[in-house]
């Protein structure tokens, strides 16, 4: 079912719930994995994705179709995840653990993380990136969004996004080489 059909169902008061259920079926997995890579732990990702869909439900009438539905959904999910991470940063004691180490520890402790060595290294390299670079890398590498779509999601210029992606790739490669040379 197309986005337009889903939206027209949601706009029909009688069909609203059915339309929203279809919207979730269509996008929940993509959005979940995007959020999960950002916040790492499943329970956190679950909180963020539920808040995201609740927000989508309550504000879908304000969606004017100026961008694709999925870029609008990614935007809401990304903002929710960033807000979640920022709140967690505030709560964690800076002297004991910074946010990156915290994510790395969560990665090691996550029962639902089972990658091969290369994937584990990639995830460890990702959590060491600055938040914006990590986001850009994930949207490009995993979600395979165009720079224009990423620009709509992150409200950043295409040039800045290309630069961030370039830096992120170089840092990840450097991490792989550093770990490889230590073995």
């Amino acid at each position: 079912m197309s986005d337009e059909q889903i939206l027209s169902l949601i706009q029909d008061h009688q069909q609203r719930e059915r339309g929203f259920r279809l919207l979730m079926e269509q996008y929940q997995e993509r959005l979940y994995w995007h959020v999960r890579r950002m916040v790492v732990e499943h329970e956190d990702a679950n909180d963020v994705i539920q808040n995201t869909f609740i927000k989508v439900y309550r504000s879908i009438d304000r969606f004017k179709g100026q961008s694709a539905l999925y870029t609008w959904l990614y935007r809401i999910a990304t903002n929710e995840a960033i807000t979640y991470l920022n709140n967690r940063k505030k709560k964690s004691t800076a002297a004991l653990d910074d946010a990156d180490n915290n994510l790395e520890n969560q990665l090691a402790a996550d029962d639902y993380f089972d990658g091969d060595r290369a994937q584990v290294l990639l995830q460890k390299a990702l959590v060491k990136l600055p938040e914006k670079q990590r986001l850009v890398f994930q949207l490009r590498y995993y979600e395979e969004l165009s720079y224009q779509e990423m620009s709509e999601v992150l409200d950043t210029s295409v040039g800045a996004l290309k630069s961030s992606y370039h830096h992120a790739v170089k840092k990840i490669e450097a991490y792989f080489r550093a770990v490889g040379s230590n073995r």
Binding site: E17, E25, Q28, W33, Q50, F53, Q119, E144, V169
Partner: protein
């Protein structure tokens, strides 16, 4: 060139090492998670939104120790302001005919004299007598407080002197 291929080539140029990695997803979710999540979200959006009740005036004034002190202060101010309002805006009950303090006494007496003159036949004689006894009579004939007391007493004593003791018994 499709987007997937474009992204792969871009990565290959930037980092041949990374471009060789498989994009396997290392994360997992509990069995049946997405169905459960969908149900939970639908349940939450179907529940009516209960906006947090705004605290009433009493809760606002006395909700905690700090606001309790504020509440007492506000109530004290209100009591003082209300009492002041009634005190300053109430008509002068003691002298309802007085328009102002200066000249009020004269205008009251003029009004009273005019009223008595006009309604002299309808007035109760006893009450009128009491008034005369209370206020006496001034030189101009208007009642004067205490002026008649001694005169009346003298007349009564003279009359008593003229009476025989047997008449009284």
């Amino acid at each position: 060139m499709n987007r997937k291929e474009e992204i792969r080539k871009e990565l290959e140029e930037l980092s041949p090492l990374l471009s060789k990695l498989d994009k396997d997803n290392p994360f997992e979710v509990p069995y049946g998670y997405f169905d459960k999540m969908q149900r939970e979200v639908l349940q939450q959006v179907k529940e009516p939104q209960v906006s947090p009740a705004r605290p009433g005036i009493w809760a606002w004034l006395f909700g905690n120790q700090r606001s309790g002190r504020l509440g007492l202060g506000v109530i004290s101010l209100l009591v003082v302001a209300t009492a002041g309002f009634f005190y300053w805006s109430a008509p002068n009950v003691a002298n309802p005919l007085a328009g102002s303090e200066a000249g009020g006494e004269a205008s009251w007496e003029q009004a009273a004299a005019a009223y008595l003159t006009a309604n002299i036949d309808e007035l109760d004689d006893d009450l009128l007598a009491d008034l005369v006894v209370d206020r006496g009579t001034a030189e101009d004939g208007t009642p004067q407080e205490g002026a008649l007391d001694e005169q009346l007493m003298e007349e009564i004593l003279n009359e008593l002197d003229d009476l025989e003791i047997e008449d009284l018994l």
